[in-house]
Symmetry: C2
Subunit: 307 residues, 2 copies
DNA sequence: CTGAGATATGATTCAAACTCATTATTCTAA
DNA sequence: TTAGAATAATGAGTTTGAATCATATCTCAG
């Protein structure tokens, strides 16, 4: 008698339905594609019937799979809620959760995530550290923040734990009438003669600069704006080009105000991590915050993928 | 980070709440007491808090334990229902389920169990094989029954699978004014001069005879009645003594019509098993029947314990 | 027909979950 | 109070099964 149904399986099914393929779901669950394949196989042999049809994209659930999926949708939230209740009961009221943010556009996804979190953990004092610190890790050490959102994998840091959030792509934005819009994708040199519209922050906090232009020793003319919408307005008006995460600009592209082009032949991919003190990494209310922002970003933001 | 909550844990908590002790719950779950102790310990270390207080009988749940228990009560039925739906979907409509019964008083628990089962599996054709076959196993072989309720562990039988149901105690019953009521428990010799009131079936199907009197070569005078209530009436009227499972007589004892005494110093314990053909043992609707009758008997019948 | 993207498979690794044997803790009753 | 019966805890040892890794197979678009 092979192993019975477990919560793990329900999580798999849910991820599967949201990702549409074994490999994507595996990435989201921090497992290998092989693991999911095996898992699914034992489940199917347990029930003596297929749960999904895998030769269709996205994969389709059989009737039986559907039934189990609906069980997952029913049960997993209940389990999660109980988990939160238990955490609350176990550790008394939670402490403050001060979040240090490195990048401007992080606000776009952080705000809704924080809203969702606030309703689940009303007693946690949520706060955002104002100002844009280039290196937020010392804040964690000094106990001035519980969590920092940072770019790219960092060198291991004593007393700091990094948890992957997600991967996104930075795309170049320009007016549809801009000459560069003719190219299928942009190279470093294409930026040379242009005006680059960015947030008013140091270069090492701008994805294009840090990963492409600074290494290529290219330093285009600059213009800055605080707000994403302002940057997009300037781009749409032909005042220059910008580079932003693909998910910030969906609306503007749909409406034809601006067009986007990959940066480099294979796109400019950036990674976000949550950093916490080793202590904080064990606190349930902080773990939950990370899990929730990650999950929410992965489902809500277009063009974002698991790390 | 120790293992997360799994359905297995919920089952443990539920069993724990119903049995009131680690060891009893372990028996019900077909696990060792040690297993449950370890399991509970890892769960508690996972949450960093105790789930139950074990130095009280029956054990008590802490607030956290209560919360998880209520999760279990919420989730497990949902999981079970999904399991049934899947089984239905997987194997089309279920076949007939003909139950052969060896003992009269099995009806007392079999009927309510069958009622419960019928509402869960309406499409299964439930049937009881009439007449009391001494050896019902050939019925399984000949495909004339899908399931047989039998006494005591049997020698391994080709193509037949035995699943434990429960253990009960047969007690001696007599009028409160009967001389033997003075003894704390009865021995084989005590039966010698008495009239034994039984069902009208062969001796080897009567627990007292098979396990005590026949081995001791004692053969008391007999009187028979078809119905349990009739037997109890005769006993209450001082027409003789009887030996019945302890759970059949709760009402009569409470009202003082009859009294019960253990048979032998340590009581006469009997065991019931469900026998199915190897094929049937794999069919979900039959497995479910066994699990359900077992569970229901264990919770509903007083003085019944897991095997 | 080929190559890219996705899934399957088998061998291997590793940790979790059990059992077994034993000891510690209660609780009960002599 | 102590002996003895239940019950729980513990530690070592074993088994199981869920992962990973490396590789093979499949499917489809160009």
């Amino acid at each position: 008698m092979p192993s019975a149904l477990e919560i793990r399986h329900l999580e798999t099914l849910l991820a599967l339905s949201e990702c549409g393929s074994l490999s994507k779901a595996a990435a989201r669950l921090f497992l290998t594609q092989s693991a999911l394949s095996h898992q699914l196989k034992t489940l199917e042999s347990h029930y003596g019937a297929a749960l999904v049809e895998k030769n269709t994209r996205p994969l389709r659930f059989t009737a039986i799979g559907q039934r189990l999926l609906s069980l997952a949708r029913q049960v997993l939230p209940q389990v999660a809620e109980a988990g939160r209740d238990v955490a609350r009961l176990a550790q008394g009221h939670a402490g403050p959760l001060r979040v240090a943010v490195q990048c401007h556009n992080c606000f776009d996804w952080l705000m809704p995530a924080m809203d969702a979190y606030r309703s689940l953990w009303p007693e946690v004092e949520l706060d955002i550290i104002s100002g844009f610190v280039v290196d937020p890790l010392p804040l964690l050490d000094r106990g001035e923040a519980e969590l920092a959102v940072i770019h790219d994998p960092q060198a291991p840091h004593p007393n700091v734990v990094f948890s992957p959030l997600f991967r996104y792509e930075s795309v170049a934005l320009m007016s549809p009438r801009h000459p560069l819009a003719a190219k299928p994708h942009l190279e470093a040199q294409d930026f040379a003669g242009e005006t680059l519209i960015t947030y008013p922050v140091p270069d090492e906090m701008l994805d294009v600069m840090k990963h492409l232009l600074t290494p290529a020793n290219i330093n285009p003319k600059r213009r800055t704006a605080e707000l994403t919408v302002a940057i997009l307005q300037l781009v749409a008006s032909g005042r220059g080009i910008a580079a932003l995460p693909s998910w910030t600009v969906g609306n503007y592209i749909e409406r034809g105000y601006v067009v986007s082009r990959p940066i480099g032949a294979s796109g400019l991919r950036c990674e976000l991590y949550a950093a916490t003190s080793t202590a904080g990494a064990h606190a349930a209310y902080i773990k939950e915050f990370i899990a929730l922002t990650r999950a929410q970003s992965l489902t809500e933001l277009a063009g974002v993928s698991a790390l």
